[in-house]
Subunit: 405 residues, 2 copies
Amino acid sequence: MALIVQKYGGTSVGNPERIKNVARRVAEYRRRGDKVVVVVSAMSGVTDGLIKMAKEIMPLPSEREMDMLLATGEQTTIALTAIALHSLGVPAVSMTGAQAGIITDGVHTKAKIRNITPKKVHGFLDGGNVVIVAGFQGETPEGQITTLGRGGSDLTAIALAAALKADLCQIYTDVDGVYTADPRIVPTARKLPEVSYDEMLELASLGAKVMQSRSVEFAKKFGVVFEVRSSLNDNPGTIVKEETKNMEDVVIRGVALDKNQAKVTLVAVPDKPGVASRIFKALAEANINVDMIVQNISHGTGTPSTDLSFTVEKADLLKAEKVIASLKAEVGFSQSIATDKIGKLSIVGVGMRSHSGVAAKMFETLAREKVNIDMISTSEIKISVVIDLAKGEQAMRAVHTAFIG
Amino acid sequence: MALIVQKYGGTSVGNPERIKNVARRVAEYRRRGDKVVVVVSAMSGVTDGLIKMAKEIMPLPSEREMDMLLATGEQTTIALTAIALHSLGVPAVSMTGAQAGIITDGVHTKAKIRNITPKKVHGFLDGGNVVIVAGFQGETPEGQITTLGRGGSDLTAIALAAALKADLCQIYTDVDGVYTADPRIVPTARKLPEVSYDEMLELASLGAKVMQSRSVEFAKKFGVVFEVRSSLNDNPGTIVKEETKNMEDVVIRGVALDKNQAKVTLVAVPDKPGVASRIFKALAEANINVDMIVQNISHGTGTPSTDLSFTVEKADLLKAEKVIASLKAEVGFSQSIATDKIGKLSIVGVGMRSHSGVAAKMFETLAREKVNIDMISTSEIKISVVIDLAKGEQAMRAVHTAFIG
């Protein structure tokens, strides 16, 4: 008899019929003798509808009141899910985040979980019930309702699994698991049976978004093993867990292509202390998230100067160009060149640590495909290159074939 | 500076535009320097939509889960109302029933308020906020969400007014107040400036439904003076309060016609102990609410027998006929006659106690109109007669003219 936490997202509980499907799956686990805690999101579309009404009244509504408002979405789903389980003859009890003992800080709309006291959850489980917990929400020690922000329901599930010392945490979604690459681009991509937290984090941050990074980080911190799998079939998904010795046998776990980046290059930036800090402080103050930064050694005969390139999200490019233009006189670079016709291609794998020649093999593969490399950035378990967007998918397939097959 | 509790029903908060109107009214009271607590219902249609979804999943959903589900309706409205007040520059804070300290018993879907600890409400009021409380809901001492059943938001408002020792409680609705009769039937009907709890209770139970009886009873028990008024204009409404000496100067406060009754007559029922009990116990077991019961003295030469008549709601008539038919052999009446072509005409007034000849004047008026009286029932402050439905409105106008003008 295992204790399982299952999380179902907004699409999986999008209407009464789908909620019944979720209930059928939960009922099956329970019939095997497992204790089941179910975490659900708001039905798809509900949260957006609530936000729309609030903005109709006031464009920038109070965050405390938005939490009060949005928390109703998950509360609706938990009640309907409990009813669906009852209709199958399964005892079930719904609980709001607050009732389940999820205590957060007071940062409305993006609260952090401080601790979980799942005494009542245990009580209902011991009474033979499936317990349905509202995802995405909690309350402050003072009893104010809070929400956890994007990916909040995944976080609820993983945090509950940790607090309950669950044997298994399953994140049900509309994909089958984590793939070696996006199967729509790479036909030979295959589902990974397992992946380490760090690899999952790199893949998530590289545009292969199955889950928000914060949930994976939380799982890593508390050692919660979880499975990402589909709510549409019974196929096993991908197990995400701490790195094991044999994981290193696989050099590259996955290949990701992020088409959502843009690049800015400052040409002939004076190479003196404080220049980079001035530029990136200004970008940060404008709330622009900078991803890759590449600066090469300086050259030139008079005042030494260097070229500085960085990438930002496409949506931020215009704003970034304005910030850079405003710095031109002060910083004294000769010109800035911006383009959003780039793709960021990355390979990820913990095996990289113990295998040499990975970067060389990647660059060689790209050279064979006549793909020029604009920027390179590496971490311990990842190599990213910025290339021409038009050649992105071709390059991705070639790299996938070279490393994975 | 007064402390005012205002309650707005589902129609008054039916969409974002109407919620803004409510906010404007609240803001005006606050600008005068009043402290305001606002109780709101779910937006009209929302509760029905939730019930529909639940029944799609299961025809008879669990009452605990229905409370969890339906409580989201009011929670949505409080957040939107607070946001609407913010948009007018008025500090406002929303609170669920549980947060406002409304503790109930554990009878889901029709919980009774046990006590209110409005410490947090006072805190927010003292901080200069308008406090918006979700009507219709509370929680058990164990932290389970409950709802109060029909008319629950009125009850929340009146109970809060009592707990907060409010100076005034205003129930905003879509009628202007309590009238001497339904103005759609009696053109000369006029709005009552005031009415006693008992008169209001009789009028409510007689089909002149502005509020559910339980809220009026609660107000009476705790001496909460409240005003019923319209959310569509600024006209003063009707004050409902404890009976005062001068109220007795008015003999009849109002005339009501209930067209929703049906009558069953059992002819020649053996007049022996236990017969009436057998009949009404069977009806009660079938969940049929019996209103008037009339039994006259027995007659006949052999076994004494009597005629027994009672009224039920029209919707229950078929069920009542079945129950009666099943008792025929056992009880031994000669036949049963049922009709739903009746109207129950009532006059209500505390002045009846100190004025004689009221019944005589009513019967005389009806006789002049050639209206035959089928059944008569009286209480200390009310006289009801059952008459032919076709003559109901004519009789109502005649009685109104005779007593009120």
